[in-house]
Assembly symmetry: C2
Homo-oligomer: 424 residues x 2
C-alpha cells in the first residue's frame, strides 16, 4: 500500500529533527558522502537521464526544456563539485548573531536554528534535486522535493544516492523525500501547514502562481527577473557598454539577465549608437521608444508589453529617459524587484537610485549577472527570492535557517513579588 502524502511528510518532519541535531562535522561528512555517491553512480544517473531525455524528446519538448533536463559527465562533475563546496561552507546553524547582557543580569543571544521542513517545487531540472537537498541538509532541515515529472528517472537515481548516504550516516531516508506523484499530491502537500515550514516554487510564472494560489503553508516566491540597466549622463560609456553586453549576452536565459536598457537623454546621442552596434554585433535584437529609434537605425518600436517582458533571449528593449527619476519611475512600473543596475560615476545619483528602488539586489557599476548566490558570497543558492519577507534576493543555506532567542540567567524573575515565597 503506498504511503499517504501526509504520512510521508510527517516522517520527513521527524527525520528533520535528527538532521537538526547533527553537528557541523557530521553534516560536512554527510555532504561529502553524497558527493562521493553521486560520482560513483554517474553511469546509472546518466543512463536514467538519457531515458528521461528520450521520453521528453518523443513528447515534443523544446530545445530549451531538453537543455534544462539534460545531464552529461561535465554537468554531473560540476554538480558533485558544487556539493563539496556546500560541505565546506560555514554552518549557519547554531551561529550566534548577537549577544547582549540585559540590565537585569541575564544574557540574551540570537541564535540560528533550522526552519524544519522545506518543500521545493520545481521543474524538470535534475541538478536542482541534488543541489537543493544538499543546501537543506546543510541548514539542518528535512526537504521534500517535487520536481517536474519529465525528470522522474533522473530524480530517482539521484535520490537513491542521497538515501544511501543518509543511511550510512544513520539518518532516516525520509530526511530527503522525493515526491514524484501527480499534481493532486502536490496540492495535498501544500495544505500541510502543521508539517511544512516553507514552500519554495521555482520555475515559470504558471507554476509559481499555482503554488501561491493553493498553498496554506508559507511560500517564498522566485518570480521572473525583469532587470534593468540604467545608463546615466555621468556614466563611463565603455563600462556601460560592457555592462549591457554582459547583462544581455552572457546568459540570456538567466533571470538575472537585463531585459531593458534605459538611457539618460543627455547620454543617448553619444552612447546609444555605439551600444546598439556592439549589442547587434552579438546578435541582440533591439526594440525601442521614439527617442531611441531617432538615434539607432532600423529599430522597431517597443510596446508596453516589451517593457513588461522577461525575454530570456537575445532581445532587448531600449528607452531614452529624461533623467534618473524617470528611470526610477519606469523601473517601479515594470520592474520585478529582482535586480536593477545603474551605470554612473556620480555618487549622489548612484545613492539616489539605490535608495529609491527596493529591488532585492541593486548594483552600481556592476553587471546584473552577479546577482547570484555564488557570486554574492553565499556559496550556493536555492533560488532568488522576490518576496520581501524572510529572504530577499539570492538565498543560500543561511536563508534556510531562522534566528531565535536564547536567554541564560541566574533565576531572574520579572516581578519582585515572585521572590517572596517561604525560603527553605
Amino acid at each position: 500500500m503506498p504511503e499517504s502524502i501526509r504520512d510521508a511528510a510527517l516522517a520527513c518532519k521527524l527525520a528533520a529533527q535528527a538532521v537538526a541535531e547533527l553537528d557541523s562535522h557530521a553534516k560536512t561528512a554527510l555532504l561529502d558522502d553524497i558527493a562521493n555517491e553521486l560520482a560513483a553512480n554517474a553511469t546509472a544517473i546518466l543512463a536514467a537521464n538519457a531515458d528521461d531525455l528520450a521520453a521528453a524528446r518523443q513528447a515534443g519538448a523544446t530545445p530549451a526544456f531538453l537543455d534544462r533536463l539534460a545531464l552529461d559527465p561535465q554537468r554531473l562533475r560540476d554538480l558533485v563539485k558544487g556539493i563539496r563546496a556546500i560541505a565546506r561552507m560555514p554552518d549557519p546553524v547554531g551561529r550566534v548573531t548577537r549577544r547582549r547582557r540585559a540590565r537585569k543580569g541575564f544574557v540574551i543571544e540570537r541564535v540560528r536554528v533550522p526552519l524544519g521542513v522545506v518543500a521545493l517545487i520545481y521543474e524538470a531540472r535534475p541538478n536542482v534535486t541534488a543541489d537543493a537537498a544538499a543546501l537543506c541538509l546543510k541548514a539542518g532541515n528535512g526537504v521534500i522535493l517535487r520536481g517536474g515529472s519529465e525528470a522522474v528517472r533522473s530524480n530517482r537515481a539521484i535520490a537513491g544516492c542521497l538515501h544511501r548516504a543518509l543511511a550510512r550516516a544513520g539518518l532516516p531516508r525520509h530526511a530527503v523525500l522525493l515526491l514524484d506523484q501527480d499534481r493532486a499530491a502536490m496540492l495535498e502537500l501544500l495544505q500541510l501547514s502543521d508539517i511544512v515550514d516553507l514552500a519554495i516554487p521555482r520555475g515559470g510564472e504558471g507554476l509559481i502562481r499555482f503554488v501561491t494560489e493553493h498553498a496554506r503553508v508559507p511560500v517564498i516566491k522566485h518570480y521572473k527577473g525583469v532587470c534593468h540597466l540604467y545608463v546615466d549622463a555621468a556614466a563611463d560609456f565603455d563600462h556601460a557598454i560592457e555592462l549591457a553586453i554582459d547583462g544581455k549576452c552572457s546568459r540570456p536565459a538567466a533571470c538575472n539577465a537585463i531585459e531593458t536598457l534605459l538611457v539618460h537623454a543627455g547620454a543617448a546621442p553619444a552612447f546609444l549608437p555605439r551600444a546598439a552596434a556592439a549589442l547587434r554585433a552579438r546578435g541582440v535584437e533591439l526594440v525601442g521608444d521614439e527617442g531611441a529609434r531617432a538615434l539607432v537605425p532600423d529599430m522597431p518600436a517597443a510596446t508596453e508589453a516589451d517593457y513588461a517582458a522577461e525575454y530570456l533571449a537575445l532581445k532587448l528593449a531600449v528607452r531614452v529617459v529624461e533623467d534618473v527619476d524617470a528611470a526610477i519611475a519606469h523601473i517601479r512600473k515594470f520592474g520585478s524587484d529582482h535586480t536593477e543596475v545603474i551605470a554612473t560615476e556620480d555618487a549622489e545619483t548612484a545613492d539616489h537610485f539605490v535608495h529609491a528602488l527596493r529591488a532585492a539586489v541593486v548594483m552600481v557599476n556592476a553587471s546584473s549577472r552577479f546577482s547570484d548566490g555564488g557570486e554574492l558570497g553565499l556559496g550556493a543558492e536555492i533560488g532568488i527570492s522576490t518576496t520581501r519577507l524572510h529572504a530577499y534576493g539570492p538565498m543560500g543555506a543561511e536563508a534556510l535557517t531562522i534566528e531565535r532567542f536564547v536567554l541564560r540567567g541566574h533565576g531572574e524573575v520579572r516581578h519582585p513579588e515572585s521572590r517572596t515565597h517561604t525560603p527553605s
Copy 2:
C-alpha cells in the same frame, strides 16, 4: 462614494514609498508628533473609548474583553510614553549588517529596507492601533489596521491623531489606513498579494485560523503560548519556585505565562510539595499526573487536554518526568514553539535542552515572562511570532524590515568576453 478596499490599499502602498524615503531624523520627529497629538487629544480619545465600552457592556462583553478594550488616563500616558520610546530606538532602515569585498573587486553590502505594506488584524485593543502604527512607521512601512469592531470609536479617535501628524509631516494620510468595515472587507484585503507584503493576525485562535485559511498574502502567525517550566534534578529549588510563581502568577493572561510545570522525578519529592504550597498560597489551582499527585495532597488528575491548554488563568498542570529527555518529549508533543524554560545548575543539561527544542525563545534559569520585546531589548513589539519564517519570537521594528543586497563596483562584468567590444 466610499473608496474600494483595493484603491485604499493601493493608496497605502504609494504612501509607504514616501515613508520609506524618510530619514531617521524625520521619523523620530513624526513619532514624537504622534505622541504629542495623542497626549493633546486624551479627552476626546477617552470619551470615544467610554462610548465603545458602554456599547460592549450592553452587548454583554466579558470582563476580560472589557479590560482589553478599556483605556484610562494612565494607560494613555503609558501608550504615549511607549511611542516616544519607539521614536528614540535605533532606525533599522538603511542599517548595513554585513559588508565584504568580492575577489572581483566590487563591494557587497547587506542593507535593511522596509517591507512595504504591513496589515495588522487584531481584536478590540485600541492601544495596539497606536503601537502598531508607530512601529510600522519607524520601520519605514505603510500600515493597514483592521481592529475589532467593538473598538471602532476609540480607533477612529486614535487614527485621527495619526493622520494629523502625518499631514503636518507632509505625508499622505493613507500611510496609516484604518479599515473599520466588516469581515468581507478583511477578506478582500487578504487577497491583495500585489499590495500587502505581510499580514500579522493577533488575537484568539479563531481569528488567526481565519486569516491563515483565507490569506493569499504572506502571514506571520502569533499563536497561543503553551509554555513550560522544566525543573531539573540539578535545579536550584529556591530559584525554580520563584520561576514557577513569576511564570504563572505575575500575569496569568499573558501568552508568555507558563501552563505546565514539568519536574524531574529525582527532584519531585523535595521540590514539588514546597512549590505546590507556594503556588497554592497565591491562588493557583493545580492538576497533575500520578507522580505529582502522590506528592501533593488533593490535586485532581490532569488530562491530555490540560497539557494542551493555554489556561490564561491561575491554573497550572504538573507532571513528574523521568529525566530531561522525557521533558523534551513532552514539550515537543504539547508545546507551541513560543517559550520554554529549564531550571538547572547543570550546564550540559541546559545545553541539551536548548538544542533539542526549537521554540522561538528558550530560557535557562530565567522567567518565561521575559519573553517580550521590551525585556529582550527590542524596545517594543508588534507581536510574538511562532511562525518559523522571517521572524521567530518577539518582533520589534527590525522584524518589519528585510535585508537586501547592494553591490558597488567599477564596471565589473561576469564574463571576460563582454569586454571585447570596440573601444571608443
